[in-house]
Symmetry: D2
Subunit: 143 residues, 4 copies
C-alpha cells in the first residue's frame, strides 16, 4: 500500500476554489443572521439585505434567500408575538462563478435530519471532454 | 467551441466535500464571534470555546484558534478599556478529514490585503498515482 | 390635563444607568451567541467564555451562564448529532453594580410565553429611607 | 450607617422598564450585525432591515439606523474591495414608549473614547408634578 501524500500547497483549481468559497458563504449566512427579529411583514426586507450582503463577496453571482417565519414554531402572544430567525425558516441558494466554472450551493433545514443542511446542488464546468479524467478518478475511488 | 455543461448533481468526492466543509467552518467562525468582548485575560477562554464548538462540526479533526486582542487597535480608557473581537485579532486553523483525504484551512487577517483571508493551506490525499488525471485536468485548464 | 414633558437630557441616576446597562448585556448575549455549535460536552466551555466576556463590560460584577443543550429539541443522527445554541437552552444572570446600587437581570426562555424573557430580578439600593419618595411615586402612577 | 437593602423584586415602573428595554435593543443590535458585508451600495438595504427588525421588539416606536461604510477604514482591492460592518460605521437611534413615558437611546461610535457608546439621549414623561419625588430622590443621592 502506498502511503498517503501531502500535496504541495495548492493553488486550488477554479472548481475547487468555488467549492471552498461556497462553503464560506453558507457558513457565514448561517452564523451571522440567526436571532434577528422577523415576522411575515419584515421577512422580505431581511431577505433582500442578506442577498445584498452576500452579493458583495468574492465569486458570488446570484443569491436567493427565502425566509418563512411560520416555520419557526408557535408564536408568543401580545408584545411577544414575533419570532427570531431560526434555521428552520431559511432556504438560501448562492451561485458562484469563476471563469467557465460555476457552483450553486444551498442551505436548507431538513426536518428529516433535524439539521440545517448545506450542500452543493449544481456544478457547471467547461466542456465535457476535459472532464473525463475527473470522472474516472471518481470511479476509481470506489473501486 | 463546445458549450459549457451542467454536470449531474454531485455527489462530491471526499476531497471536494472537504473543501466545501472547510469553507463552512471558516465562514461560520468569522460571522459568529465578531463583537464578543475580549481582553488579554479572557482570550484563552474564548479560543478554547471556539475550538470546542467547531470541533463538533462534521469532518473536523483539529481546530486551533489564536486571538491577539492587541491587534484590535488602541484601547479605550477606564471602563471602556477592553475590546470587541475584530477580524484583525484572529488566526484560525481547522483540519478536516474524510477517510484518507485531509484539508487544512486557515482564516487570518492579511494587513497587506486589508482583508480577513480564508485559504486552504494543506491538502493530503491518497497515493499520487490516483491523482494523475486530476493534475492533467488542471494543466489543460490553462492551455 | 397637563401636557407630557421632555425632561432635559439626563444624566441618569446610578439606578437608572444600571437598568439600561443590564439590558445592554442581556440583549447582547442573546444576539451574539445563538448558532454556536454546542453539546453536553462543550457546554461548560461556552458558559465560561460567555461569562468571561460579559465580565469585561462596564458595571458587571457577576455573570452566571447555564446552557442545557437538551432543551434544544431532538438531535440529528451520525455526523449531525449535535446542536446549535438556541434561546431555549439559555439561563443567564448578570449582576451589575454602581456604588451602592445593584441590579440583577436574567435571560431565560419561558415556555409558557414561547419567548426568551429578559427581566430585572433583583434591585439593591441605598438605605430604605431614601427610597420612600420613589414608592409613593409608583403608587401615584396607578391612581 | 444603615445597611443596603434589597428591594422586593420589582415590577419596574414604565420609565424603568423602558430604560432596561432600550438597553436590550442597542445591545442586541451591536452584537447581531457586526461582520455583515456592506458597501455604499448596500448600506441602505441593511439599514432598513435592521430598522424593521428592531421595530418588531416590545415597546419600540421608532428606529433609525445609519451606516457609513467609509468609516470602516481603508478598503481592500479587487475582489476584496468591500467591508464588513464594524462599530465605527453605526449610528442607531431607537425610541421606546410605554403609555406616557418615552425613552430614546443611541448607539454611536465615539472616536474620542475609542468606544461604541450606548446612551439614553432623551426621556419624556408624564407631567412634571408627578416627577417631583423622583427629583428629590435624585438630589438626595448626591448629598
Amino acid at each position: 500500500m502506498r502511503p498517503a501524500r501531502t500535496r504541495p500547497t495548492p493553488p486550488l483549481s477554479p472548481h475547487e476554489t468555488l467549492l471552498f468559497e461556497a462553503g464560506i458563504k453558507l457558513g457565514g449566512i448561517f452564523h451571522q443572521y440567526l436571532g434577528i427579529p422577523v415576522s411575515r411583514r419584515t421577512a422580505a426586507s431581511l431577505e433582500r439585505a442578506i442577498e445584498s450582503a452576500v452579493g458583495l463577496q468574492p465569486f458570488v453571482r446570484r443569491a436567493r434567500v427565502r425566509i418563512e417565519p411560520e416555520r419557526g414554531g408557535p408564536l408568543g402572544r401580545g408584545r411577544f408575538a414575533y419570532r427570531y430567525l431560526v434555521p428552520e425558516m431559511l432556504d438560501v441558494r448562492v451561485g458562484l462563478r469563476d471563469g467557465a466554472e460555476e457552483v450553486e450551493a444551498r442551505l436548507r433545514h431538513r426536518p428529516d435530519l433535524r439539521y440545517p443542511l448545506m450542500s452543493v446542488v449544481r456544478v457547471t464546468g467547461p466542456p465535457p471532454l476535459r472532464r473525463a479524467p475527473r470522472r474516472r478518478r471518481g470511479a476509481s475511488r470506489r473501486a
